[in-house]
Subunit: 228 residues, 2 copies
């Protein structure tokens, strides 16, 4: 479903060259539940942004469902993202001048749904994310850190995307809220969604079926989780 | 050193009233290392902002070193904060148009130090936070989430404040980076600093000497950590 071929990403700053990713080759099949772990600053978000078509690699290609994304123009990329991918950002990227409801319904706006249908889906999404529908009329900056994180998760899942990319989705959550989020991800995976999740939390990684380790911009390990 | 007397915080939205904190009474003595835990959305950040003099309570008082903060004007509050308190924000609050160095040196600007002295202190602070001095010339949005978190920690400690308030300082850090941060906090506590740290991570809470539990805006527990 997702194929990353020979991908590298370099940042050039002044005279310097910094390789955030080097020679990444990765296949993620349908219905996989993949966790990505690795030290801070070693390329996990960079890889997620490239898989999620939010950023372009310096070398190599990304195929989504067999489509070579390098051949798509910005408009086609944007449509593909909107249809197939839900993204939970590490820093949430909520829009403070819109209500929580308006934030969550963004992925639905191009689908020709009625407002009441969008509200119904938003309520369902926020509850699946372990949140509360009373938040819908608030602004994001009237919510706690962990509440905002759950709104970001709700926005990523509201459009029922085939692929969910979650960049550290439980970093600001207590254990009980993390459990609810992971139960939702497991349930979505069970009904056929593909999940790729960055996490620093080994307990969260245990909910996945495969763990990829990233170190210094390269894949340093690829294994099945071991609960011991 | 920090005395919270009968503090409550209410938010009024439309016809509704929401009590984020109720009847908080708390004493934090010099050289304490206090962890605050509790479910997401239950008032921990609200309490930290009030202790840190960034927000005013709806009822009650906050005393810092015996000073009744309600009697201070904004200028005096700001001076007291700058002198005595270092704050690590849950969302970092770094300024993207300034370099990392400029972000870290903010607390030092009113101290009449030379630029080379400020740079020396910033380098020391970022290394104590488990970061790297190569970040100093970058902008915050050129850093990973966990790197930005460590810059926020560096800024909080660079001015050698008596009180360090850290709101979930390790949420985006891997285990190794978290250890370095906690070692720094323990060392600062050992030389006399008072530390109040919100965390969702029970392992991080074990580094403290006292754990306060917050539930529904109230203190629901106050105990010594138990490693079992
Ligand atoms: N725009 C940029 N310019 C220069 N360097 C960058 C830029 N964006 C990212 N980097 C660097 O690329 C590296 C990888 O960053 P990335 O955000 O992918 O790390 P990460 O593994 O997600 O870390 P964390 O666990 O802290 O979130 C970091 O060292 C970072 O400083
Ligand atoms: N400006 C505001 N208007 C209305 N409600 C608010 C406002 N700011 C905070 N709240 C509410 O106050 C409650 C406590 O928020 P707070 O940020 O203190 O929680 P927290 O314990 O830090 O949570 P987390 O662990 O998720 O960071 C939340 O329910 C939040 O929705
Ligand atoms: Mg990251
Ligand atoms: Mg908080």
């Amino acid at each position: 479903l997702i194929e990353v071929v020979n991908v590298s990403k370099v940042y050039r700053m002044g005279g310097n060259e910094f390789w955030a990713l080097r020679d990444i080759n990765l296949e993620v099949f349908e219905r996989e539940f993949l966790a990505i772990m690795g030290p801070s600053g070693h390329g996990k978000t960079t890889l997620m942004n490239i898989i999620g078509l939010l950023d372009k690699p310096s070398t190599g290609k990304v195929f989504i469902d067999g489509v070579d994304t390098a051949k798509l123009n910005d408009d086609e990329l944007s449509k593909l993202r909107n249809r197939k991918i839900g993204f939970v950002f590490q820093q949430y990227n909520l829009i403070n001048r819109m209500s929580v409801l308006e934030n969550i319904e963004v992925p639905l706006l191009l689908r020709g749904l009625s407002r009441s249908e969008r509200v119904r889906l938003a309520i369902r999404a926020i509850e699946m994310a372990g949140g509360d529908k009373s938040w819908l009329s608030k602004k994001p900056n009237q919510l706690s850190g962990g509440q905002q994180q759950r709104v970001a998760i709700a926005r990523a899942i509201v459009g029922d995307p085939e692929i969910i990319l979650a960049d550290e989705p439980t970093g600001n959550l207590d254990t009980a809220s993390s459990k609810i989020v992971m139960q939702t991800f497991s349930r979505l995976n069970g009904i056929g969604k593909t999940i790729v999740m960055v996490t620093h939390n080994p307990e969260v990684a245990l909910c996945s079926k495969r763990i990829l380790y990233i170190r210094d911009g390269r894949i340093s390990g690829d294994e099945v989780p071991d609960p011991t």
